[in-house]
């Protein structure tokens, strides 16, 4: 069972990341976006946890020592949970900053934009063609980071129990 799962996970893991990345990028024009991509990424990592266990991911993949039993705290504190926390905190900050930029821009140009005003530019990339670049992508990235960070925090904390 574990062997099959691990083998499948090895194949699915990169595929899942690629798919979620694609979902994130196409989100503005086709089904997808930060929420979906985030949930998908989180679930793929969760699959890795199922296959290898929390300690395995921490130890083998990230080459970090698993800290156990820090003084009287009996819970295993995985370094990666810290990273997840950083991730959703950073995501939240990014989202706020993405909103604030509009205000700053508005003040600088005297156009009085409100919080979260977004815009986009059409640019032409050689060989690829016409691309619409939306400022909202930055905010969406924040959403993605929060979803991934928060869900993985929950999953890894619950899983560690």
């Amino acid at each position: 069972m574990t062997l099959i799962l691990r083998t499948v996970t090895r194949v699915v893991l990169p595929l899942g990341f690629v798919v979620s990345f694609a979902f994130f990028l196409q989100g503005h024009n086709l089904p997808g976006g930060g929420f979906i991509a985030g949930v998908l990424t989180a679930s793929v990592v969760a699959l890795a946890y199922l296959a290898y266990g929390l300690d395995g991911v921490e130890h083998d993949v990230l080459n970090r020592e698993v800290q156990t039993a820090v003084e009287h705290v009996e819970h295993v504190q995985h370094g990666i949970v810290r990273d997840y926390q950083t991730l959703y905190a950073a995501g939240l900050a990014l989202a706020v900053v993405a909103g604030l930029v509009a205000i700053l821009y508005g003040v600088l140009t005297g156009t009085h934009l409100t919080f979260m005003t977004q815009t986009y530019r059409s640019i032409t990339v050689p060989l690829y063609g016409h691309v619409e670049l939306a400022s909202a992508v930055v905010f969406d990235l924040g959403v993605y980071a929060v979803v991934v960070g928060a869900l993985l925090t929950v999953i890894s904390v619950v899983g560690a129990e």
């Binding site: 024009n29 869900l151 929950v154 619950v158």
Partner: protein, 113 residues
């Protein structure tokens, strides 16, 4: 006037009734089940109210009546938040069990009093 969705209405009625019944149980896990059913049913209700007959709200994807994208955006976030809160509820149940040694609400109340 559009036609009322009779089938969906009946299905939602049963889903809500089931969810309500589960929420009223003594078993904490059942209460979580009930909340889950209720939130699923609410999502279905919202999407239904947004119109289920049209094409997907992607511009240039098809011709004709477009379903309401606003409720879909609402439901999308609700689904993700739903997961976070479900996990939170489960952790609460787990911690309750650790603290009280039971997940029977009647016993917990008795212990508190």
């Amino acid at each position: 006037m559009s036609d009322p969705e009779v089938v969906t209405a009946l299905a939602l009625g049963v889903l809500f009734a089931a969810g309500t019944f589960l929420v009223l149980r003594r078993d904490l896990v059942r209460v979580v089940f009930g909340l889950l059913v209720l939130s699923q049913a609410t999502n279905v209700y919202l999407v239904t109210v947004g119109g289920i007959g049209g094409v997907a709200p992607v511009v240039g994807h098809g011709e004709g009546h477009v379903t309401d994208p606003l409720v879909q955006a609402l439901v999308l976030t609700a689904v993700v938040i739903g997961f976070a809160t479900t996990a939170l509820l489960l952790v609460l149940v787990y911690r309750t069990y650790q603290e009280h040694g039971t997940i029977d609400l009647d016993e917990i109340t008795g212990a508190v009093r």
